[in-house]
Point group: C2
Chain length 214, copies 2
DNA sequence: CCGGAGGCTGAACACCCGTTTAGCATCCTG
DNA sequence: CAGGATGCTAAACGGGTGTTCAGCCTCCGG
């Protein structure tokens, strides 16, 4: 969690970090009073700095988005050979609270969609590069294929408490899920699911002149 | 929504239906007072019948689960040739409120997992039958493959507001999502994603003696 | 040394929540 | 016809919520 510069230890930064952690684990229903208590601070201070609960939330959005953007920019092509930037960060325990926050934000109905587009952009970039390198098949619709993969990985995280073996401790949840799921996922990604292309052909015949996106 | 027998029009049933609809659209945070107002009834009546908000919720769980179970049992092998039972019900507008409730329930942290297992069982059955019929490839781990497919379809529904074109009306959301997604999904299901099996082989070599499930 | 600005707090406000209680009609049963 | 169960409600209770406000310290510049 902790940022690079230690001068960031102001109460303001501490509250922001606490809010991210709290909202990430308990959802945005978690109260201002609860966050303030966790940060060892008066509830009023939080309103003093950001005006309202929603103001703090927007500041957290901004911070998390910025943090991830800076981190993904730092990654070399070498690192990105096997997995997308977000997939790599997902495995980093230091980023677990941030990732949990992203999961909450992207599911929230009144989310502005910036987290979603960030995720999709990231995997689309990775897919395009992997396609160019000949590791991934070309597709009729790169955008939607990227979104589909985001749905799969994000969905697995959102449903982690069902996917992981019962009794898995909370901090091991995501690791347990990926452990269970990568095998069948790789199977699906290399061989597909169907034995022939009849359903796909039927679909393509049914809507012949379809374009990738309007 | 309306059940088969019209004698079910008691206030009790009306409240239950209203609660399912309300919680399905707004989440379980929706208040007892709001549900009572929608049903044209005093908030106290609701507590009178079910003891507590949580009691009503359990009754709704039971009702929805039972309704889907009865409906899937009615389906013939003919109908189940192309899609699983839940996938068929998902397209039925009459079941939209029920399906929305299921989506809320399965995401809720303190869900007992009955909705999840119902979904997984349904698609596992379908996959097994399709595999036996030679339409779907065999797999090393039927259980997890079924869960993976549930993650994909459920995830697409949970993230529908991002997947659907902007400005899609709420009642068209799911249809718009499936319209956008089926093409790339069929592509993935018939051809896979990777050009070769190097990643899969590397994975299988890395953990050679792995069993499907402990 | 003085004074103002900024970080910070305790107490209160208005509102919404789930729930309780007492009591009202109504209807079925003995 | 009496009487008790049943369906239902109005009003209130206690507690949690986001937010406001007056005022406290502390530190820094003139």
């Amino acid at each position: 969690m902790r940022s690079a510069d230690d001068a960031d230890l102001t109460a303001r930064a501490r509250i922001r970090d606490t809010a991210i952690r709290r909202w990430g684990t308990d959802g945005f229903g978690a109260s201002v009073r609860g966050i303030a208590a966790d940060a060892g601070v008066s509830p009023a201070l939080l309103l003093h700095h950001w005006g309202s609960k929603d103001g703090l939330r927007q500041a957290c959005d901004e911070y998390v988005l910025d943090r991830f953007a800076r981190e993904t920019d730092r990654m070399t092509a070498q690192e990105l050979a096997t997995a997308s930037a977000w997939a790599i960060l997902d495995r980093d325990p230091e980023f677990a609270p941030l990732a949990a926050y992203v999961r909450r934000a992207v599911t929230d109905e009144r989310s502005a969609g910036r987290f979603w587009t960030a995720l999709v952009d990231d995997t689309r970039r990775w897919l395009q590069q992997a396609t160019a390198a000949g590791r991934v098949l070309p597709t009729r619709d790169e955008e939607t294929r990227a979104e589909l993969l985001v749905v799969l990985s994000l969905g697995a995280q959102l449903l982690a408490h069902h996917l992981a073996p019962p009794g898995t401790p909370a901090d091991r949840l995501l690791a347990a899920v990926s452990e269970r799921v990568t095998g069948p996922a790789l199977e699906l990604f290399t061989h597909g699911l169907f034995t022939d292309d009849r359903l796909l052909q039927a679909y393509l015949d049914h809507r012949p002149g379809e374009e990738p996106r309007p």
